[in-house]
Assembly symmetry: C2
Homo-oligomer: 280 residues x 2
Amino acid sequence: MPETLILDGNRVATDIKESLSGAIQSLAKRGIVPCLATILVGDDPSSATYVRMKGNACKRLGIQSIRLDLPKDTSTGELILAIRKLNADPNVHGILLQHPVPHQIDERAAFEAISIEKDVDGVTTLGFAQNAFGFADFPSCTPAAIIAILDYYNISIEGKHAVVIGRSPILGKPVSIMLLNQNATVTTCHSKTTNLEDIVRLGDIVVAAVGKPRFVKGDWIKSGAIVLDAGYNEGNIGDVDYDGCLLKASAITPVPAGVGPVTIAALLKHTVAAAEKLAK
Amino acid sequence: MPETLILDGNRVATDIKESLSGAIQSLAKRGIVPCLATILVGDDPSSATYVRMKGNACKRLGIQSIRLDLPKDTSTGELILAIRKLNADPNVHGILLQHPVPHQIDERAAFEAISIEKDVDGVTTLGFAQNAFGFADFPSCTPAAIIAILDYYNISIEGKHAVVIGRSPILGKPVSIMLLNQNATVTTCHSKTTNLEDIVRLGDIVVAAVGKPRFVKGDWIKSGAIVLDAGYNEGNIGDVDYDGCLLKASAITPVPAGVGPVTIAALLKHTVAAAEKLAK
C-alpha cells in the first residue's frame, strides 16, 4: 500500500504568504500598509488564541493589525457601532469578527454590518452568495484554505465525490458550494443525517467541519480517500480520528499544521487584496 | 406493490392561491392592488408562454400585472434602466425578469439590479444568500414550489437523502440548500458528475433540474423514491422519463401539472407578501 500523503498546511501557508510579498511591497511604495482589524468579544480563551495568532501572522508579513477587545456583555448595537467605525476608517482594509460571539449578540446582524469591501472572511450574506455564484472577492477563509491545499498538492476535484460533514454558514455551506463550483459532486451531511458512516464512505474527498473531537473514524473512510480536517477542538484535536483515518486515506491534513495555518494565510491574502482594491 | 402517488401540482397551486385571498382583500380595503411586473427580452416562444401564463394567473387572482416587452437587441444598460424604473415605481411590488435573456445581456448584472424588496423570484445574490441562511422573504419560486409540494403531501424531508441533478443559480443551488435547511442530506450532481446513475440511485428524494428531456431514467431511481421533475422542455416534456420512473417511484410529479403551476402560485404568493410588506 502506498504511503499516505500528509498535506502540510504550513507549507501551503508559506507558499501563499510568500506570494503576497510583491503586492505588499508595491503598496508600501505608495504609502499603504494593509490593515486587518480583528474584533474579539468576551474572553473565550480559544478565540483569544486565534485572534493572537492572526495578529502575529500579520506582523511577520508587514501587515498592520488592529485588535479591538470588547467586554463579554457587549450588546449587538454596540458591536455594530464598533464595526461601522471600522467600515468608515480608510486605513482599515479587512474586518474579522471572531466567531463565536456571546449569546446575547445577534451574530448574523453583526456579520451583516461588515461592509462587503472589508468582508475578508466572507461572512456577510452578500459575500456568501458571491462565493456561491463563483465571483466573490473574499470567500470564507477556511473553505478557501481547503481548496488551496487541494490545489497546492495538485489533487484534482473535478468529477470526485466530496462529502462535507457540517453545514454552518461560514464553513460547511460555503465549502460545499466551492467544491461544487470546482466540479465535484457534493454531498452535505449534518446532525440529522441518517447512515452518516455509509454516506462518508462514498467520499473521494471528505471534509470534516463538525466541531466534535475525533468524530470521523477510520472505518468510515473509503480506501484512498482524501481527508481534510477543518475541526479544531480543545487540546489541538481535530474532527477526524487522525490515526484511524491515516491508515485508509491516500492524503490527510493533520491537526495542528493542517487547515489552520492555511486559513490564516487566506485571511492575510484577502486583506492584501482588499487593500489593493481600495488603492485602485 | 402500492400505487404510485401522483403529486398534483394543480391541487397544490389552488391551495396556495386560495390562501392568498384574505390578504388580497385586506390590501384592497386599503386601496392596494398587488402588482407584478414581468420583463421579457426578445421573442423566445417558450419564455413568451411562461410570461403569458404568469400574467393570466395574476389576473384570475386579482393581482395586477404589468408586462414589459423589450426588443431582443436590448443592451444590459437599457435593461438595467428599465428595472430601475420598476424599482422606483411604488405601485409595483414584484419584478420578474424572465430567464433566459439574449446572449448580449449580462443576466447576472440585470438580476442584481432588482431591488431586494421586489425580488419575488429570489434571483439576486442577496436573495439567494438570505434563502441559504433560512431567512429569505422570497426564495426562488421553483425551489419553493418543490418544498411546497412535499409539504402539501406531508412527505417528510428530514433525514432523507435528496439528490438534486443540476446546479443553476436559480434552481439547482437554491433547492439543494433549501432541502439541506429542511434537514435532508443533500447531494448535488451536474454535468461533470461521474457515475450519475449510481448517485441518483441513492436518493430517497430526487429533484431533476437539468434541462434535458426525459433525462432521468426509471432504472436510475431507487424503489420507493420521491421524484420531483422541475424540468420543462419543448412539447411539455419534463427532465424525467415519467413512464419509466412511475414504475419505481412512491410519488412523482407529472409534467405538465406538476412543479410548473406551483412555481406560478409561489410567484403570486411572494408578490402579495411584497405588497403586504410595503404597506406596513
